[in-house]
């Protein structure tokens, strides 16, 4: 029992420690593919270090929401990370605290407060970006829901660990048409939620075109560091859900031995590295969509997820 608690904390440390590395590798890869040299993969760590050692400036016009939000944005992905299988194959101590819906709601809570804080500053670009993130958010919400419902149809549960067991146990479910449709829908969702290229340009510094970035415009010092780190962790958590629960539930620790857990760390990192390659291909080969095309992009994701649900209800083999 104590061991599962410790392992759960190891998962949290994994998310905490490798989130900046993930974003560093992603941006480095992207620059290399576009035949530029790019920053070091450790640059996000240096950025965080620098920001933590700078003074923080908070406008006297803002309310408690502005001060509270960075902590919330930072904590929410960690909370979600304790619910999902990051390194292990079996449920850990906190696994039954909440299911995938709870995870979705918690991430939504972080997004909600980030949008409120952006409005709170009174900066003209903040509310604009906030309303755009809300637009993406409410278009993404139904896709989230349908994906979870489909998963619960197939696995009879919405606890991430049990869903993952279901994919490992039955190749019939793994190869079903529902599964591939679900993967595509969830992948489009990750791109939208993570502010990646067809929806948002993560490297753009032009305020009028910002979606995800504009939430943190007014933060400085520690607040900015927490917002940044929180965003990176959120993306890593979503990636872990996609890879470990839905796409490739292999290479995780099978039992309580410490060496299996230690082996799972490089294997998971390897999976994430391969996923990074796919992301880089998408980021370099596609252009950012116009704002009102985003609804089409997420609409397509919604249609695909509903098709997955239909396929899982009707054409499951042997029913």
């Amino acid at each position: 029992m104590l061991r599962t608690v410790v392992y759960n904390l190891v998962q949290l440390l994994f998310i905490l420690g490798f989130a900046p590395l993930y974003s560093g590798v992603l941006s480095r890869f992207k620059e290399n593919v576009q035949s530029r040299r790019g920053p070091s993969i450790l640059q996000p760590y240096r950025d965080l270090w620098k920001l933590f050692h700078k003074d923080e400036v908070i406008s006297s016009q803002t309310t408690w929401i502005f001060r509270f939000t960075p902590y919330l944005v930072f904590v929410v992905p960690l909370f979600v990370a304790s619910l999902i299988p990051v390194l292990t194959d079996y449920p850990l101590a906190f696994a039954f605290m909440g299911d995938m819906l709870a995870a979705g709601f918690f991430l939504g809570l972080g997004g909600f407060f980030a949008a409120l804080a952006a409005v709170d500053t009174g900066n003209p670009y903040g509310p604009m970006g906030a309303s755009r993130t809300r637009m993406v958010g409410f278009l993404a919400e139904p896709v989230f829901m349908i994906v979870f419902f489909t998963v619960s149809f197939v696995a009879q549960s919405t606890i991430p660990y049990i869903v993952q067991q279901q994919w490992v146990a039955s190749p019939a479910a793994f190869f079903s048409p529902a599964h591939i449709l679900l993967l595509i829908a969830f992948f489009m969702l990750i791109l939208a939620e993570g502010g990646k290229i067809p929806v948002d340009n993560p490297t753009g510094h032009f305020e009028l075109a910002m979606i995800d970035e504009s939430k943190g415009l007014e933060y400085s010092g520690r607040g900015a560091a927490l917002m940044k780190w929180g965003g990176q962790m959120k993306f890593l958590v979503l990636t872990c859900v996609f890879l470990n629960v839905l796409l490739a539930p292999w290479g995780l620790a099978k039992d309580l031995f410490v060496n299996h857990l230690l082996l799972a760390i490089p294997l998971t990192l390897l999976k994430i590295l391969l996923f990074t390659v796919i992301l880089v291909v998408i980021e370099t080969s596609l252009a950012k969509l116009r704002l009102f095309r985003i609804s089409e992009f997420l609409g397509a994701a919604f249609i695909i997820s509903v098709a997955a649900m239909i396929a899982s209800i009707f054409s499951t083999p042997g029913v």
Binding site: P177, L181, I303, A307, I310, A311, F314, P317, G318, V319
Partner: protein, 230 residues
Amino acid sequence: MSGTHTQLIDGLNALTAGLVLLSAFGMVTTRQVQGVIRFLVVQSLFVAASAFLIGFDRRSTDLVELGVIMIASKVITIPWVLRRMLPGEVYERREINQAVNIPSSLLLALLLAIAAEFLVGPLVATTSDPVIHVNLPIGMAGLLIGGYTLIARREAIPQLIGLLAMENGAFFAGISIAPDLPLIAELAIAIDVILIAVVVGLLTRNITETIGTSEAAAMSELREEPHSWR
């Protein structure tokens, strides 16, 4: 041994089914003529892959030959024919003028997919063969979505692609329920389909050259001066 073997093949076949449905949705969403043709090629590849898998599973050389015909006609010949015949301007044009806009089209396509599941539900319930459970509803959905593309698009080439997608759907459903389809029938269809592509391609090229558009809706009335076409 053969049990797990069959299970793997059924699994892979189900995977192709998912991708066939996905490319059918892709055809509905894409605006560019080139993109629509690309999705048709992808879909035909997966349909052929399914034919190979089922043919291998049931030891039926007919199905493998059908897959080869499929690749030869739809993956190689038709895109090549269209590429050769169409002026680049038609080929690369974006923003195909549609009767129904894309989000509504997607919703309709989804409804058609659901309708397909309900339509073949009673048929599928009579068997426990997993291949039929997967192929029949998705082939039917492909057929209906192709038919919808045929109606909703206004340009000649995407309409042709809708027709070909219907054929793909019918083929995909057919290989699961009629594995011993006479080869000669499928060969006739394949040649027929290529001929249709040639005829539509030629016609579109001539029409585009004379009146400067390949929109089918603009051709419904006769006018004296070609310049007044929308």
